[in-house]
Homo-oligomer: 157 residues x 2
Amino acid sequence: MRHTISVLVENKFGVLTRVAGLFSGRGYNIDTLNVAPTQEPNTSRMTIVTLGDDATLDQIVKQLNKLVDVIHVLNFQEGEYVDRELVLVKVAVDSKTRAEIMQITDIFRAKIVDVQPATLTIEITGNESKIEKFLDLMKTFGVLDLTRTGKIALPRK
Amino acid sequence: MRHTISVLVENKFGVLTRVAGLFSGRGYNIDTLNVAPTQEPNTSRMTIVTLGDDATLDQIVKQLNKLVDVIHVLNFQEGEYVDRELVLVKVAVDSKTRAEIMQITDIFRAKIVDVQPATLTIEITGNESKIEKFLDLMKTFGVLDLTRTGKIALPRK
């Protein structure tokens, strides 16, 4: 099963290594991960998306809670959070396909952020299904390069 | 100095731990990091933003290149890349401040993604200076929760 976990940590050396090590040490694959400072000085938030069984994840969450630099762990359940991801994608274009790609970009409320003679770089933000659908469409034109942030999430309440 | 580094890696167990360990092992602080799959099966891209001296970073890049699962390392130089970050921020509102926050959200082309009686959750995408400016404005209303993806970047060419 797919899980989204948010870990609030003290902004210290090696916290990321220790947290990531807990997952890899148990053979638990991390699909996406991101870490960045929060509004509080000296704390960062990590958002981790993983695929695996619930029992192992429960153990990992327990172990995360025991780490000195971990302040709080949140295991998001469906429906109770808002989640978004950001993707930058570079697509091959020519004079015939440019207009079509621009139309699709418009429909998805995505944004063209760079134009080169044979490429367009597009920024798209959304939930997983929106982004997957957009990227599937872009594949028919040719995806040359792609970078995604991984999911971030906030509880609704 | 601030550095943005992109690392293309094989999608294998423990790669993240090894890469993060290279930085923390040298006392080099990671400001933001994200990792997610690319358009190629079995590869992921990490984008790392760090603060530190150039000489140490050169050593880290050399060592990154020696790791078996690292395919490619890119040390972005100013101006030659497009970069974006995504932030979800939950702001305290009341009947007096809601309209003002919505106006600011509009000006920044940000998006309200959740509404609760006493909070608004806002999604904003942009480069660092745009996001910092928006968050500074939100602080005057009260930032209750915040999660950011860290920067992603793609070369223009």
